[in-house]
Symmetry: C2
Subunit: 499 residues, 2 copies
């Protein structure tokens, strides 16, 4: 048995894993911890999957799956024919310290052989990639419960679209997307979100990442400044960085983005905000702040990108109108997605642009992204027009609201007084607010060992003051899971907060 096998066997035996945590996940967590703690040193060769499986008494597939995940996240590097090596985490982490690297999912560029030479931006983009998640498990924030998706109904509508077998639905999408879908979205946004919109202004994109990327490249140049909320949605940050914009993090308080005098000394080209439900804090931008922001955008000649990502999930009270509806100067580009309400993989989002930008965005959308999947767009158009979308939103909103209350209840039983649960009434996750001295990243790591995927609030910040907390997603968890894991999470936090 090799020293590495020994080390991993010992780690597996000692760690207090949750009894239901699958073996491949245990091996992955044990190896990752050993790499982080440098008990497995950079450049060291791992035993073959065959040997390790034998040494640890695991199925070989289990070992391969764990290796693949470690490789995908950059903890190890596989080299065809010559084996698997521990990656050098230090090489790239130094520059990223304190700027939102995530505890689970920091990855490194591959070994610096000449053949593996990434560009500078390639190295930056992958050195702190969130990376794919291991598997869906309790409390990962942001995931909707797509098991409640009406499969049979969708399939029926989809079959109708395919039966007509219209050639134009198999081609690339032109003129901003399938017209009936754009019409359905126009109506929905006018009625439900008070967006001021004509159908020409609506473009169908492959989701919010693509909407943001289109805005970043058409509206900003390399080196231009983008104001982002701090804390901020990772996905947006990543897209702006990939387009080489300078990010200026703007503090968020309970009224949303709070522009300070020092911020006003900079010249933003883009201002990215989530006014309905700030991600991840949940703050709703006040009317005064909305007016102020629109005013700043005009004065600074900047574009506002309004990401209304989960406006559908408001559990009490009337949803606030979109910021775009208050805009009299055509400064706001409004975007939304169907990934959260229907299912993530649907990859259909929308972007509403001011009239003067229509020709540029239409042609760039076609030219740069060659949009397709019109059969999905046609099915979705029918789904909305026939009233199924509204019905589905109503149903899942009830489900999620009940789960939210249950989670609150379970946590409240365990949490000490020093810990509060955020009060906002929308979204797919709760924020547990922790005292400043609690290390939320360590806490998230500890929860991960028990099979709970919470995210540390501090990892969403780019600058101080950093608030500590945990993002707890509940939307896709069954009541049983929420009861069990909610109690478990509460206990873990209570122990840490007391210590």
């Amino acid at each position: 048995m090799s020293p590495t096998s020994d080390l991993l066997a010992a780690a597996l035996a000692q760690s207090g894993f949750h009894p239901r945590l699958p073996q491949q996940r245990r091996l992955y967590e044990a190896a990752k911890a050993a790499i982080h703690q440098q008990r497995l040193g950079a450049g060291g060769k791992l035993p073959s999957s065959r040997d390790l499986a034998r040494d640890l008494g695991m199925a070989r597939n289990t070992v391969i799956a764990a290796f693949e995940q470690l490789a995908a996240e950059g903890y190890v590097v596989s080299s065809r024919g010559s084996g698997t090596y521990v990656a050098d985490l230090q090489a790239h982490s130094a520059s990223m310290r304190g700027v939102g690297a995530t505890p689970q999912g920091r990855s490194t560029a591959p070994a610096a052989t000449p053949s593996a030479r990434l560009s500078r931006r390639g190295q930056e983009l992958t050195s702190y990639a969130a990376g794919p998640q291991f598997e869906i498990q309790p409390f990962a924030p942001g995931d909707p419960d797509f098991s409640s998706f009406p499969f049979k109904l969708w399939q029926r509508l989809q079959n109708r679209v395919w039966r007509e077998a219209r050639n134009d639905l198999l081609d690339y999408g032109q003129s901003g997307g399938h017209l009936p879908l754009r019409q359905a979205i126009t109506e929905y946004l006018r009625i439900s979100r008070s967006v001021k919109v004509e159908v020409e202004q609506v473009m169908i994109t492959a989701g919010t990442q693509q909407s943001l990327d289109l805005c970043a490249q058409l509206l900003a140049d390399v080196g231009d400044t983008a104001w982002i909320e701090d804390p901020c949605y990772w996905g947006a940050r990543r897209v702006f960085q990939a387009r080489e914009l300078k990010l200026r993090p703007i503090t968020v308080d309970s009224d949303g983005i709070a522009i300070a005098a020092a911020d006003l000394a900079t010249k933003p080209r883009l201002i990215y905000v989530t006014p309905s439900h700030q991600y991840p804090t949940g703050a709703v931008m006040s009317l005064a702040r909305r007016r102020e922001l629109l005013d700043v955008a005009v004065r600074k000649d900047a574009w506002i990108l309004e990401d209304d990502y989960d406006s559908e999930f408001r559990y009490t009270g009337r949803p606030l109108a979109a910021l775009q509806g208050l805009d009299h100067d055509d400064r706001v580009l409004y975007m939304g997605t169907f990934s959260k309400v229907l299912y993530p993989g649907i990859k259909v989002g929308y972007l509403v642009v001011p009239p003067a930008l229509i020709p540029a965005f239409r042609s760039a959308l076609y030219d740069l992204q060659r949009p397709g999947q019109l059969t999905v767009q046609a099915t979705l158009a029918d789904f909305i027009t026939l009233g199924h979308f509204t019905a589905h939103v109503r149903k899942i909103r009830q489900t999620y609201g009940a789960r939210r209350e249950l989670l609150r209840h379970m946590l409240a039983q365990k949490l000490p007084r020093s810990v509060t649960i955020s009060r906002e009434e929308s979204g797919l996750h709760l924020v547990i607010e922790l005292p400043d001295q609690v290390d939320d990243m360590a806490l998230a790591q500890q929860a991960a060992m028990q099979g709970i995927s919470v995210k540390a609030l501090s990892t969403y910040y780019l600058k101080p003051p950093i608030r500590r907390g945990l993002l707890v997603g509940y939307a896709y968890c069954t009541p049983e899971q929420i009861t069990d894991y909610g109690r478990l999470l509460g206990t873990i936090i209570a122990a840490e907060a007391a210590a």
Copy 2:
């Protein structure tokens, strides 16, 4: 009747439109020509669609559709409430002259009001956008015949995937895409394309544009040089420009890319090539050139991006192996797409990366693009595994081969000796090679008036020597269309070449 209505009515009456050309297309062509010839001046207001419809005796929807297309291509700018204006074509065309602006589809940035301020790159990207095509009509190059797609079979496979209703197929795609599809592609590429590949190296992307974009951002920085073929596929050029790479066009001759001494004085980071079937000339890269290129890549420490976009369509002889198969230094990233063989809107492509790049590409793919559409990927995996893909390729290859021969035959009857038809034996289009003194752009414009969408070869070039010719797509045309329009096209060319 307004002066504009008068002018358009006269143009519609005089122009020698093909009798089958739809009215909206006639109006669009007439207005476009008038704008190009500055008979409709920049900034001039067009009559309302209602007035114009009345004046021209057309349905209002016809006028609206023509306006929309003109707006989408940037010939006119609509301003909510205040009407439609002729755009200023001169503003942006000067800088683009001679660098591949297309006669049909040149667009301008919208009027330079402060609210319409695009970034510098946004202006560049949209100032010469190819833009969406008006409609599918005879001879547009590159379009496959997706009416031959086995709809019913696909629907059956798709329903099976949906009936199983697996949650993981509704989520975002992780680890580079749906494993069974990656396995099917691996096998296909090994057997059919002699690609050296393990399944881990295969990533599923949303098509070639997305594959190229991923390469451009991970492997090159702003200001780095990319070698591209001259003439070159527009889509690739556009993606590299959007990532702000410096393009160095390398001459293509009948053996493919021909690197000159002056080229070797530059330092490419990326080299984009289409070795199996150069786009658009159809040249096949010789073995000597392939070896030379691989050698240059090693010496220059550059990455080769091999786009094998329509290797499936080879009508005679054995297809050449992929360049990637000759690569012993892990220098080649290989990409392909299902858009040409199945249907464009499927939006499924693949990228094969060297082993050392796997972690970076996997995490960036997930992080930047959030891939989805796994139900499509699962359906496609079944389609390939059950042998339907091979059968479909065989079937359409026969169909296309026959259409190709028919087109050759029809053209040959009309074309003068000074005009030759390219000899290459693959792809979805023929190249008609014209004498240097013939203006291929004017010829394409003339053909457009007759309802024929051919593209001028010269528009694909970035630098001299520019060859004149026409790209004629035949894949999706019925034998009747090829007979009629082939004869018509031959006549148009003969008249021009003789003049």
